[in-house]
């Protein structure tokens, strides 16, 4: 039997019993819609949970801190400061020296090793009459693209005497002469502006010494949802010069003192956990958002399976419905089956026709279920948005809860529903195929 003949015969047969096919398919529609809706909800919950984690937007990134030994570990973890010229008295300390960076770069899967350093003193940024306390960060290599940062305005290339600012920096500016009751100032436009950076330190006899540097702002980053948003980036050379000024001119030796902090970028998020473990084995303190995300993901995968399983129970009930409908159809059409065999249908032909009809009911139900499940998740999202909006009015921060329905889920649901129909039709179709023709023809 040719495929098209088989297909058209199946359609004709289903069309003969529209009402019953529709009723049976409704069972599959409910089951499939439940699977789609519940799994969409679980995926939505997962997305919302991971996107709300601070700084987890870049999963191929590993932060590495020096290991200052037992006593200083806590401090190192929090601030990453105090490194630069730190003493070498603790024996098990591991600093991020030039040779250490070379070791890390040799780990398979490592794409880039980017050292960062912080300013070892206080600095105030001045734009016109406004001032801001800022977090100054020096980046080796001078290209913020290497860090995975995205440009909002201007460039990502740093040069001597230039700076690139994070997206929130502009909001940190305040008017030092503001009086109580006055409106806060409008945030300044920083792009392409020259700003002043005032560094200050105290001499041994308690005198404040200031140094003013002019910086050209050449870029503003997009919101990265990590520490970059509040930072001002400068070249490592500029930062080293200023740190040496804080250090009373004493030169910083990267081979000995190392860097405050190193960002390692992996070739892909899959290798991140492995690289993190290897860096930790070298004695440094590596942290990757990927390991956190993996833990969260495995929790949500279980949640998806549980939610999907609840929907699958409805599909199981639908499967029994299909089996029942097909068994009834075969009883009613026994003579027809006998006739089909008399006019030349093989057992395989009969089996294929009835399996096709059962799978067809599954497919129809699957298509309907996907439509309802997908529509349901959209409606759910509308209600969730309204709820979140009302929460926001009350001053509460919404978590962005929503159902997310990926294409693979829709395709999977349709294929799964068709498979359910196919499997439910197996027993009735086998019965039909093995009917004795003479008995079938005489059936009343």
């Amino acid at each position: 039997m040719r495929f098209w003949d088989l297909f058209s015969l199946i359609i004709e047969n289903l069309n003969r019993r529209k009402g019953r096919v529709a009723l049976t398919a409704i069972g599959v529609v409910i089951g499939t819609a439940a699977v789609v809706l519940l799994v969409s909800l679980a995926i939505g919950l997962q997305k919302s949970a991971t996107s709300n984690l601070w700084g987890i937007n870049d999963l191929s990134r590993i932060e590495v801190y020096p290991n200052y030994g037992e006593a200083m570990m806590v401090e190192a973890k929090i601030g990453g400061g105090g490194g630069g010229g730190g003493g070498g008295t603790v024996s098990n300390q591991k600093l991020l020296t030039t040779s250490a960076l070379a070791d890390i770069a040799l780990i398979p899967g490592v794409q880039k090793v980017i050292p960062r350093d912080y300013l070892m003193g206080s600095a105030v940024m001045k734009a016109g009459t406004l001032e801001a306390w800022t977090n100054i960060m020096g980046i080796a290599g001078s290209d913020l693209d290497d860090m995975g940062y995205l440009s909002g305005q201007g460039t990502l290339e740093l040069r001597k005497g230039t700076a690139i600012v994070g997206s929130w920096v502009v909001n940190n500016f305040y008017d030092p002469k503001i009086r109580p009751g006055q409106e806060p100032p409008v945030p300044p436009e920083l792009m392409d502006q020259r700003v002043k950076l005032v560094l200050s330190k105290w001499t041994n006899d308690g005198q404040e010494v200031k140094k003013t540097i002019t910086l050209q702002i050449v870029g503003v980053l997009q919101e990265m949802r990590n520490e970059a948003d509040g930072s001002v980036f400068v070249t490592m050379e500029d930062l080293t010069t200023w740190n040496e000024w804080f250090n009373n001119g004493k030169r910083i030796n990267r081979n000995k003192d190392g860097y405050n902090n190193v960002i390692v970028r992996a070739e892909s998020p899959e290798v991140v956990v492995d690289i993190t473990n290897q860096i930790n084995e070298l004695g440094f303190m590596a942290y990757s958002p990927q390991s956190t995300v993996e833990g969260i993901n495995s929790f949500f995968t279980i949640l998806q399976i549980i939610f999907g399983g609840i929907g699958a129970i409805a599909l199981l009930v639908a499967a029994i419905g299909i089996a029942n409908t097909m068994t009834m159809a075969i009883l009613e059409r026994t003579r027809e089956i006998g006739l089909m065999k008399a006019i030349g249908a093989t057992n395989k032909d009969v089996l294929t026709i009835f399996l096709g009809e059962a799978a067809g009911i599954g497919l129809l139900g699957g298509l309907g279920g996907v439509l309802f499940g997908w529509g349901g998740s959209k409606i759910l999202n509308v209600f969730a948005m309204q709820y979140l909006a009302s929460q926001a009015q009350q001053g509460m921060l919404g978590s962005g809860l929503s159902a997310v329905t990926p294409t693979w889920l829709l395709l999977f649901a349709i294929i799964f529903a068709t498979m359910v129909g196919f499997l439910s039709g197996l027993y009735p179709a086998l019965r039909a195929a093995t009917l004795e023709p003479v008995m079938a023809l005489k059936y009343e």
């Binding site: 003949d5 003579r335 030349g344 093989t346």
Partner: protein, 246 residues
């Protein structure tokens, strides 16, 4: 016999088990049917004539014995081969027509060609020719319920012919028809026989004898002579009269 018989049957037996009882529907039949013959198998109900017909058409399996149709040994075929045998070699005509009620006359006629893998255009052509051959060109798009018994049987005959089988097997083809329709159906079968097809008709209607080139009489699962059959038939007639008298 100038050529080997189209159908050769040797010691054919079919036993049905009904509960604890064994019923010998066919108790050892030896028979040859020639190519191009019009064979009428005559017998009262329960004589085993329909069982014999279904065995000839590969719809049922014998308990023992051998059937060769066109040099094919049916007892050696598996279910799949039997399906293909029925498709290519046999056209069945039933007493109750067995048309599919949801399909039109035209669709019923094209139905067997779907299993034979014949393409759409060819199907349309063959069905149109056959329906006009059986005198139903103008009723092609009517459903079985809109046709008379005689017309339905004509559709069934057209359906039996679509795959151009050399053998036509008819099980009481006139059983559900009035005399006139029955006669015209037998004329139609006779015309098909003259085209060269081998026809085997099973009936208990003695009037069928006028169309037959060969007569076979069956009684209690065995082939008997005409004289034996007549004697049994008259006995049966007497019995019927007695029953009516009571």
């Amino acid at each position: 016999m100038s050529e080997a018989a189209f159908i050769q049957i040797q010691d054919l037996r079919k036993t049905f088990v009904m509960g604890k009882q064994k019923v010998h529907a066919l108790a050892g039949i030896d028979l040859n049917i020639l190519r191009g013959s019009f064979t009428v198998i005559m017998g009262p109900s329960g004589s085993g004539k329909s069982t014999l017909l279904y065995l000839l058409g590969g719809l049922d399996r014998a308990t023992s014995g051998a059937i060769h149709v066109d040099d094919l040994a049916l007892e050696k075929m598996d279910e799949n081969d039997l399906g293909i045998f029925r498709r290519k070699k046999v056209g069945f005509i039933f007493q109750s027509f067995n048309l599919i009620s949801s399909m039109t006359a035209f669709q019923n006629v094209t139905f067997p060609m779907r299993f034979a893998g014949i393409k759409g255009a060819e199907r349309q052509k063959r069905a149109a020719i056959l329906l006009s051959q059986v005198g139903l060109a103008n009723r092609a798009h009517h459903r079985p319920t809109e046709l008379s018994g005689g017309q339905q049987q004509r559709v069934a005959i057209a359906r039996a012919l679509v795959n151009n089988p050399p053998l036509i097997l008819a099980d009481e083809p006139t059983g559900n028809l009035d005399t006139t329709s029955g006669y015209s159906i037998m004329k139609l079968l006779s015309a098909l026989n003259k085209e060269g097809r081998t026809i085997v008709v099973v009936t208990h209607d003695l009037r069928m004898r006028q169309f037959a080139s060969e007569m076979i009489y069956l009684l209690d699962g065995l082939v008997v002579s005409e004289a034996e059959y007549e004697a049994a038939a008259s006995f049966e007639l007497q019995e019927k009269e007695v029953e009516e008298a009571i």
